[in-house]
C-alpha cells in the first residue's frame, strides 16, 4: 500500500497558488509519468521490454576532481540506464535483487521518447531478450512450422 501521512504529522503546506519555477533549457520529462512502465521498442519497432526502473548515478564531468555536484550538498544525478526484469518485483514488494540480475539498457541507445521509448539498435544486441532467444531456440523453433509465417 502506498504510504500516507497522518493529519497530525503534516507540517503546514502553503495553500495559496505556487509560483511557476524558472523554465529549464531542455526537454522536461517526469520519470514516473513518462518513463516508468513504458514499452521499449528496438529500431525495427519490435518490443524489447518495459521500463521497470531507472539507474541514477552522479554526473562525472570532464573537469572532475572527485567533487561532482552542486555547491556543498547532493551530487548531480543523471539517468544512466533503463532497467528491466526482476527489478519489477522491488516496485511491487520490497527488497532488491542483486546487481547481476538487472537487465540494463544504456540511455545512450534511446533515440526517441514518446508513448513508447524507441532504441537506435536491434533487439538481438541486448541481453534483456535472453528468455525470448532461449525459447526460440529450444521450444518454438523445435515445433514444426515455428519459423515460418502463418498462412
Amino acid at each position: 500500500m502506498s504510504p500516507r501521512l497522518r493529519r497530525a504529522e503534516r507540517a503546514s503546506t502553503p495553500e495559496e497558488p505556487l509560483p511557476a519555477p524558472p523554465r529549464p533549457a531542455g526537454r522536461v520529462l517526469d520519470a514516473r509519468l513518462h518513463l516508468l512502465d513504458r514499452q521499449v521498442v528496438d529500431a525495427d519497432g519490435a518490443p524489447v521490454a518495459v521500463v521497470d526502473d531507472l539507474e541514477l548515478e552522479p554526473l562525472v564531468t570532464a573537469a572532475d576532481d572527485g567533487s561532482a555536484g552542486t555547491a556543498d550538498g547532493v551530487p548531480t544525478l543523471v539517468v544512466t540506464h533503463l532497467l528491466s526484469g526482476p527489478v519489477l518485483l522491488t516496485r511491487v514488494l520490497t527488497g532488491r535483487p542483486p546487481h547481476s540480475r538487472w537487465h540494463r539498457i544504456a540511455w545512450r541507445h534511446v533515440s526517441d521518447v514518446g508513448t513508447v521509448l524507441r532504441l537506435g539498435l536491434q533487439g538481438d544486441a541486448l541481453d534483456v531478450l535472453w528468455i525470448e532467444r532461449w525459447l526460440r531456440e529450444h521450444v518454438v523453433g523445435r515445433i514444426p512450422g515455428g519459423r515460418r509465417a502463418p498462412e
Partner: protein
C-alpha cells in the same frame, strides 16, 4: 541508486517535520549525451526536481500536473486527492538517506505543473 529509491521516500524539512512523499522525479535532458564523443541521439536526463505530495504516496495518472480535464469526474476526484502537491528543486535537497529526503533550510516550493512543450 535506483529511481525507486527516491519514489515514495518521505520528505522532511530542515527541522525534521514531515512534508509528504516523493510522487515523481522531474528530469531535464540537458546533461552531456553519452556514447562515443557524445554522439547519442538524446541528451542525458538530469535529476532536476522532486514532486512532493503531502497526502498520498503515489501519483495516479498525473492529473495534478497536466491540464487534461476529462473524464470530468475522474479528473476532479484525483486533483482533489493530490491537492497541495508541490515541486522542490534538487538543489534544495540536503541529504538523501535510505528512505528519507531532507531539505535545506532555504528550500522553496514551486508549482508542479509541467511546462508546455517548446514551440
Amino acid at each position: 541508486m535506483l529511481l525507486s529509491d527516491l519514489l515514495d521516500a518521505r520528505v522532511l524539512d530542515a527541522d525534521g517535520r514531515a512534508l509528504g512523499f516523493v510522487v515523481d522525479v522531474r528530469l531535464v535532458l540537458d546533461a552531456p549525451p553519452g556514447g562515443l564523443d557524445g554522439a547519442a541521439p538524446l541528451a542525458t536526463p538530469r535529476v532536476h526536481a522532486l514532486l512532493v505530495s503531502p497526502r498520498t504516496g503515489t501519483s495516479f495518472l498525473g492529473y495534478e500536473r497536466t491540464s487534461t480535464n476529462a473524464p470530468a469526474l475522474v479528473a476532479r476526484y484525483l486533483r482533489h486527492r493530490h491537492r497541495g502537491t508541490f515541486l522542490v528543486h534538487w538543489t534544495d535537497v540536503a541529504a538523501p538517506t535510505a528512505s528519507t529526503i531532507t531539505l535545506r533550510p532555504t528550500w522553496t516550493p514551486w508549482s508542479p505543473t509541467l511546462p508546455l512543450p517548446l514551440p
